[in-house]
C-alpha cells in the first residue's frame, strides 16, 4: 500500500506524519533529535509507520465487527503492550552496550550493581506501560534515564560504586543506544508478543494484526523539512522550508487559518497564508534565539523544573511580574534577581511567558499582522501559560478572533511536508490515486 511521508527534523524533536493515498493521516511518530539525524529520522518514521499500522488494524476491526464496543479499548491495550515490548527491546540493547563499556578494567561490584539496576528496570516495565499509567515522556532516553538515575542513586547509598560512575556509564551508553538502528519499529514481532500477553484477545483482533503485519507500506514519496532538513538524506526537490510546511500544515488542520505562529526550539516564525494555504508573507527571528522554545528550556534549567512544568506553574500566578528581557542570558539574571527580591516563582514565570509572546507579537506585526483565523503551532503551543498570554495580547492588539490550537500542533510541520510529498507523488502521476485506505484521518483528513 502506498503512503506519503513528511519528516520534520526539528532542533529538539523529529516528527513524521504518514498519509494514506487519500490524504488522510494514517500515523504520526516522534522522537528526540540527536546527533545522528539519519537515525532520528528513521526512528520517527518507524514510529509513524507503527501508528499507521494501528490505524489499519483499527479500520480492519471496525469493518469486521462494527458492534464490538470493546474493540477500541482492546486496541489501546494492544498499543500499551506494544510500547512495552519496544521498551524492553531497547532495554536489552542498553544492557548489552553498558556491559560492553564495562568490559575492561571495571570492578565486579560495578558490573553487579549495573546488572541489578537493569534487572529492576526490566521488572518495572510492565507497570510503566499498564493502561492508565502516566509517563513523563515517551522517549526511551527520558523514560529509562529517569528510572535509571533513581535506582542508581539508591544503589550508590549501599554499595561501594559511586553515583557519578553509574551516571557516566549510562550517559555514554545511551548515546550509543540512540545512535544505532533498533528493531523497535518491528510491528509484527512486537504486536504478536503484545497480543500473546492480552488475556482473551478476540480472534478478529489477532486476524487484523496478522493481516496488517503483512501489509507492505510503500513510501511513495517523502518530503523533509525542519531545522535540520539540509542534513536529511533526501534530494533537494524533496526538501521544503519550515515556513511553507507550517503554513500548509496549519491550513490542513484548520482551513480557515490566515495567520500562523510557530514557536519552535530554535526559531519563531510568523506566517500569513491565503485561502489555499499558500504562504504569502513571513517573518522569522534573526540570529538570536531569544524567545524561542530553547529559552523556556533554559528557564526550566535555571529553576530546576521540567519544561512541561513551567506553563502550569505560571498559570497559577495572579500578579505577573513585568519582565522586559527575552535575551536568554539577561532573562536568567533577571530571574535570579526577582527570586532574590522574594517574588513568587509563578509570578516570575508568568512574566517570562508574556515576554516571549510579546516578542512573537512583534514578528507577527512585521509579517502583516494577525488575521482571523489565527493558528498557533509548534511545541510551545502546548504550554498553557504561553497560550494564555498569547490570547490576551492578541485580543488587546487585534480584537477577538478564533485562536486554533490542535492537540497535534507539534506535528504541523511534518503534516505540511507530508502534504507536499503527496502533491509531488500525484504530480508524478501516481497510480490509483484517490482510493481511500482509511477514513480515520485526523484534522478531517483534508486532501491537499
Amino acid at each position: 500500500m502506498k503512503c506519503c511521508v513528511g519528516i520534520d527534523l526539528g532542533s529538539t524533536t523529529t516528527k513524521a506524519v504518514i498519509l494514506a493515498e487519500s490524504g488522510a493521516i494514517l500515523g504520526r511518530g516522534i522522537t528526540n533529535s540527536r546527533s545522528n539525524y539519519k537515525i532520528a529520522c528513521d526512528v520517527a518514521l518507524s514510529e509513524g509507520l507503527i501508528g499507521a499500522r494501528f490505524a489499519l488494524v483499527a479500520s480492519a476491526l471496525e469493518g469486521s465487527d462494527p458492534a464490538a464496543g470493546s474493540g477500541r479499548a482492546l486496541l489501546a491495550e494492544l498499543e500499551h503492550g506494544l510500547r512495552e515490548q519496544q521498551y524492553r527491546s531497547q532495554l536489552r540493547v542498553l544492557s548489552e552496550v553498558m556491559h560492553r563499556f564495562m568490559a575492561e578494567g571495571d570492578s565486579d561490584a560495578l558490573r553487579e550493581v549495573v546488572g541489578e539496576i537493569l534487572a529492576a528496570m526490566e521488572r518495572g516495565a510492565a507497570e510503566l506501560f499498564r493502561s492508565g499509567a502516566s509517563r513523563k515522556s515517551d522517549f526511551f532516553r527520558d523514560l529509562a534515564g529517569s528510572i535509571y538515575l533513581r535506582l542508581a542513586e539508591e544503589a550508590a547509598k549501599t554499595s561501594p560504586v559511586g553515583f557519578d560512575r553509574l551516571v557516566g556509564l549510562f550517559d555514554k551508553a545511551i548515546l550509543d543506544v540512540e545512535n544505532r538502528p533498533t528493531d523497535a519499529g518491528n510491528f509484527g514481532r512486537h504486536a504478536r508478543a503484545a497480543l500473546s500477553r492480552l488475556p482473551e484477545a478476540p480472534a478478529a483482533l489477532t486476524r487484523a494484526v496478522e493481516e496488517v503485519a503483512e501489509v507492505t507500506l510503500d513510501l511513495a514519496c517523502t518530503v523533509g523539512t525542519g531545522y535540520g532538513r539540509a542534513t536529511l538524506p533526501f534530494p533537494k526537490e524533496q526538501i521544503r522550508s519550515e515556513i511553507l510546511c507550517h503554513g500548509l500544515g496549519a491550513h490542513a488542520m484548520f482551513p480557515g487559518t490566515r495567520t500562523v505562529l510557530d514557536i519552535g526550539g530554535q526559531d519563531t516564525k510568523a506566517i500569513q497564508v491565503d485561502a489555499e494555504g499558500i504562504v504569502i508573507s513571513f517573518q522569522m527571528n534573526d540570529r538570536c534565539a531569544a524567545g524561542c522554545g530553547r529559552y523556556l528550556g533554559y528557564i526550566a534549567d535555571e529553576m530546576n523544573l521540567g519544561v512541561q512544568e513551567l506553563g502550569p506553574m505560571a498559570c497559577r500566578s495572579s500578579r505577573p511580574v513585568r519582565i522586559n528581557s527575552t535575551c536568554t542570558v539577561f532573562a536568567g539574571a533577571e530571574l535570579r534577581e526577582r527570586l532574590s527580591l522574594g517574588e513568587k516563582r509563578e509570578d516570575i514565570l508568568a512574566g517570562l511567558h508574556r515576554a516571549i509572546i510579546l516578542r512573537a507579537l512583534s514578528l507577527l506585526a512585521r509579517s502583516g499582522g494577525v488575521s482571523d483565523e489565527f493558528t498557533f503551532t509548534g511545541g510551545v503551543a502546548k504550554n498553557p501559560a504561553a497560550v494564555r498570554a498569547l490570547r490576551g495580547l492578541i485580543i488587546d492588539n487585534y480584537g477577538e478572533m478564533t485562536l486554533n490550537i490542535s492537540p497535534d500542533s507539534i506535528y504541523t510541520g511534518a503534516l505540511g511536508a507530508a502534504l507536499f510529498a503527496r502533491r509531488e507523488w500525484l504530480r508524478r502521476g501516481s497510480p490509483g490515486s484517490g482510493e481511500a485506505t482509511s477514513d480515520r484521518g485526523a484534522e478531517g483528513g483534508r486532501a491537499a
Partner: protein, 435 residues
C-alpha cells in the same frame, strides 16, 4: 508565464573572468597606489562620501577622492573588518553604531592601511556632502578630531515631495559657490576652472549612458547580469574616483560590449563560482549587500538560480535610469541635481514608486529586502516599502537581515533559511497560478 525549469539541473557553470573585471581591478589598485604616494608626490586628497559625491569637482582641482565607506567594505572583503571593529569598540563605540564607521575608525587607528596594503594619506579636506544620513556628520566630527584638517559641508535638501525644485537647486549651487569651491581652492591651491569641469562632466555623461545600458540589460530574459551582486562591481568606477575620467568611459564601453554579447548569446550573469545558466527567479533587491560574507551570500542566490534584475543599492551614488545625466552646459546645477537625486536622498514614497516600477519593468518575481542591522538610514521604513510594493505589484516580498561589514551580524543559516523559504514561496505561487 515562467518557463518550466528542471529543478535538478545545476544553476551555475564554470568560472570565467571578464576583461572589464580585470580592468576595474587595475584601475582601483592604481588609484590606491596613487593615494599612497600622495605624501611624496604632493598630490592632495579629500575624504568624502559615496551618496551624491562631487568627484568631477574634486578632480577638476586635482584632488583625489578617498571614500571611507569603500575602504570599509574593502576591508570587510579582505577579512579585516572584525579586527577594525574591535578596535573601534575598544574606543567606546557601541555595538549598534553603523559598522562602516567603526570599521573605518578601526582601520585609521591601525595605521590607515588601505585595501592594497599601502598606507592611505591623511585627509587634506573632509568634504561632507550630507545626503540623508546623519551618521555622516558624526563620522567626520570624529575624523576632524583626529586630523585637524578643514571641513567643508554641503547640505543637500531632502526630496520630501519627490521632486527637486528650483529653490533647492539654487540653495545647493549657492553652497557650492560660496563654501565648497573656496574650500577646494584653498586646499588645492588652484583656481576653479569651469571649462575643465565641463569636460569632465561630458565624459561622465558618456560613461553614464553605458552604465544605464548595462543595468537595463537585465530586462532581457535570461538576464545577462546580476544587478545587485554583479551590480556593485559595475558601479565601482562611477561612484568612486573615476567619474569624469577617460578610464571610466573606456571601462563602461568595454563592460557594455561584454554584456551585450552575453545578452546576444542568451547567457546568464557571471558569479565568482561560475555563470548562472538557469535563471529560475528574477528578483529586485533593496538595501546594501553584506560584505563580510559577500561571496557566500551571492552563492546562496546563484545556487538557486536567483538573479537580481534590479537593485536600489546600485543607485546610492546617483540615480541615472530616470534619465539624469551630468550636463556640461550647466555644471554646478547638474552637480546639485545629481546630489539631490541619489537614492538615499529620496523619500519613502519615491522609493516605493521606484521599486514597484522595477518589479514591473524588469518582470521580477518579487522584491527582496536585505535590511541592515546597523544602518538606520537605509533600514527605516523598509517593511512599509515591502508591503506597499507587494500591494502594488501583486508579487510576493521577502525580508532578510544582515549587516554591512560586521561578520558577527551575518547568520548564514538564518539567511539561507529565509531565502529558501522565499524562493519556495515564489515557486508555490507560480505553480498555483499555472494550475
Amino acid at each position: 508565464m515562467p518557463t518550466p525549469i528542471d529543478p535538478k539541473a545545476p544553476a551555475v557553470s564554470a568560472v570565467c573572468k571578464e576583461d572589464s573585471q580585470l580592468r576595474q581591478k587595475r584601475m582601483i589598485a592604481e588609484h590606491y597606489h596613487r593615494l599612497a604616494g600622495c605624501p611624496g608626490s604632493g598630490e592632495k586628497n579629500a575624504y568624502t562620501f559615496v551618496p551624491g559625491n562631487l568627484t568631477e569637482l574634486l578632480r577638476s582641482f586635482d584632488l583625489l577622492p578617498v571614500l571611507p565607506e569603500i575602504n570599509a567594505l574593502q576591508s570587510a572583503m579582505r577579512g579585516k573588518s572584525r579586527e577594525y571593529i574591535a578596535v573601534a569598540e575598544k574606543l567606546g563605540h557601541s555595538e549598534d553604531v553603523c559598522t562602516y564607521v567603526k570599521c573605518d575608525l578601526g582601520m585609521m587607528k591601525s595605521g590607515n592601511v588601505g585595501p592594497t596594503g599601502e598606507r592611505l594619506p591623511d585627509p587634506d579636506l573632509l568634504l561632507l556632502s550630507y545626503t540623508g544620513c546623519f551618521t555622516f556628520m558624526k563620522w567626520f566630527e570624529i575624523l576632524k578630531e583626529e586630523y585637524s584638517c578643514p571641513v567643508a559641508m554641503l547640505h543637500v535638501p531632502y526630496q520630501a515631495d519627490g521632486v527637486v525644485t528650483e529653490e533647492m537647486r539654487r540653495y545647493v549651487v549657492a553652497q557650492l559657490k560660496e563654501k565648497i569651491i573656496p574650500a577646494l581652492e584653498s586646499v588645492s591651491g588652484r583656481r576653479y576652472d569651469e571649462d575643465r569641469l565641463r569636460e569632465m562632466l561630458a565624459l561622465s555623461a558618456r560613461a553614464e549612458d553605458d552604465l544605464v545600458a548595462v543595468l537595463e540589460s537585465a530586462k532581457h530574459r535570461p538576464s545577462p547580469i546580476d544587478a545587485y551582486f554583479g551590480g556593485v562591481y559595475y558601479i565601482g568606477p562611477i561612484f568612486t574616483a573615476f567619474r569624469g575620467t577617460p578610464e571610466a568611459v573606456d571601462y563602461y564601453r568595454t563592460l557594455r560590449e561584454e554584456v551585450e554579447e552575453r545578452k546576444r548569446l542568451n547567457l546568464g550573469p557571471v558569479t565568482p563560482d561560475g555563470a548562472v545558466d538557469r535563471e529560475r527567479f528574477r528578483l529586485v533587491v533593496e538595501g546594501p549587500p553584506n560584505w563580510t560574507s559577500f561571496r557566500e551570500f551571492w552563492k546562496m542566490f546563484a545556487d538557486e538560480g536567483a538573479v537580481v534584475v534590479a537593485s536600489t543599492y546600485t543607485k546610492v551614488g546617483g540615480v541615472y535610469d530616470t534619465g539624469f545625466r551630468h550636463d556640461p552646459s550647466r555644471p554646478l546645477e547638474t552637480l546639485a541635481d545629481y546630489c539631490m537625486g541619489c537614492y538615499t536622498n529620496l523619500s519613502l514614497p519615491s522609493r516605493v514608486d521606484m521599486l514597484s516600477r522595477y518589479v514591473k519593468d524588469y518582470d521580477a518575481d518579487g522584491l527582496l529586502v536585505n535590511s541592515i542591522k546597523s544602518c538606520n538610514s537605509f533600514s527605516a521604513g523598509q517593511l512599509m516599502i515591502l508591503r506597499e510594493v507587494e500591494k502594488r505589484t501583486g508579487r510576493p516580498g521577502g525580508f532578510i537581515e544582515s549587516d554591512l561589514v560586521d561578520p558577527r551580524y551575518f547568520s548564514a543559516a538564518n539567511i539561507k533559511n529565509r531565502l529558501e523559504s522565499y524562493f519556495q514561496m515564489i515557486e508555490q505561487k507560480r505553480m498555483h497560478a499555472v494550475h
